[in-house]
Amino acid sequence: MIETLKERVNADAALVRRGRYLTTTFLLEIGETAWLISIVEGRIVSVSRGPFVMPSSSFALRAPAAEWEKFFLRSPPPGSNDLMAMVRRRVLKTEGDLQVFMAHLRYFKEALAKLRPQGGVA
């Protein structure tokens, strides 16, 4: 499912436009599974599945698989409806150069919400 992030984000012209000053690679960990996601000027150019030997990324988002499953529901329950809600419950760990993440927080929230069944709310 994570592989679909590229086409889903890139198909949203407004989201790509808002990300036009964002070029980075970040690490997304869903339980034991790691993904490296590369973004160039708002467009996702690659989504690679680990394991990796020496992954380089600006920052990492890490949460248990069960937590991401709730976040990816069409109508997530309270506490799982938003990345910051998961941060608040201390289940989503954010590590690395978080300036990139925070400067583009709306982009990352809306991009990851694309992995919900289509029509979900960011």
Binding site: P78, G79, N81, A85, R88, R89, R90, A103, L105, R106
Partner: protein, 281 residues
């Protein structure tokens, strides 16, 4: 298409606060029992726009919403450019009482959300005789910081963008798109460091956990309404406050988030109108 006007009237009030002159923007609508409205951190009185346009409230209430200094159309005090804005419990309490005195509000009903819901608890404890009733929205006794607040005010992160992005998930999932984004727009318009300065009160200075049980609802009725999707002040935190105060009435509002009056006014009114009825305006 012809122009229409809302019944809300705005004025600028000059008032000394904390020993300094301030220019405050004050909106009013309706007639009757005064109903003083306090906005959330980093936003302004526009959060009450729908309520101030709703005759079910304004027919019997004089609604007043002022923008706190540094917020909305209120100015920061002269000299602000060399200061770090930090809201304290003492300042916030003084501000509310001074505005009431200036507007000659006799025992208003107070409604406040988030930081407004927190100061509502302080006022219920320390100044119950000044109010007919107090309604706390998203009221908690204390919130631990759960992200690095410094990101709210630094030159390499756009303040308006990050403030709105921080709070966007606090809007409930059923909020109409127009009201969701109007609510977030207010956050995008906040001055640099203002949201962060408000959170100094919310997350550090305004901790009332040790005293909240001393609130006496016989001196001033207290109603707490909190949205189900609020992860800043969670329903559990509001319920904990309510459980510790005898006579406090509490309702968790299904589907709503942290900004009920602004994000989804129609749903919120289903909860607020019965409370106003009970207060007996």
């Amino acid at each position: 298409m012809s122009a229409t006007f809302e019944p809300i009237i705005g004025r600028y009030m000059h008032l000394d606060l904390f020993g300094r002159p301030h220019r405050l923007y004050v909106e009013e609508a309706g007639q009757g029992v005064p109903l003083l409205c306090l906005h959330t951190a980093g936003s302004d009185g526009r959060q009450y726009r729908a309520l101030m346009n709703d005759p079910r409230i304004t027919v019997r209430h004089r609604m007043i919403a002022f923008d706190m200094p540094w917020h909305g159309k209120s100015s920061p005090p002269s000299g602000w450019h060399n200061e770090e804005y930090q809201l304290t419990s003492a300042q916030y309490t003084t501000m509310v009482l001074e505005v009431m005195t200036a507007l000659e509000l006799d025992k208003p009903i107070l409604i406040g959300c988030s930081i407004g819901g927190r100061i509502a608890l302080h006022l219920a404890l320390e100044h119950p005789e000044r109010f007919r009733a107090i309604i706390g929205l998203q009221s908690g006794a204390h919130i631990d910081p759960y992200y690095d607040l410094n990101f709210l005010h630094r030159p390499d992160v756009h303040g308006g963008e990050v403030c709105a992005a921080i709070v966007s998930g606090l809007v409930g999932p059923d909020a109409p798109e127009r009201d969701r984004w109007e609510t977030l727009w207010h956050y995008m318009q906040g001055g640099p460091g203002v949201f962060k300065g408000d959170l100094y009160f919310y997350k550090i200075d305004g901790d009332i956990r040790g005293r909240v049980a001393d609130i006496d609802t016989r001196r001033c009725p207290l109603f707490l309404l909190s949205g189900e999707y609020d992860y800043s002040c969670t329903p559990e935190e509001t319920l904990a406050v309510a459980r510790s105060i005898g006579g406090c009435e509490v309702t968790i509002m299904k589907g709503l988030g942290h900004f009920p009056m602004s994000e989804n006014p129609d749903e919120f009114l289903k909860y607020l109108l019965p409370v106003l009825e009970k207060i007996g305006a």
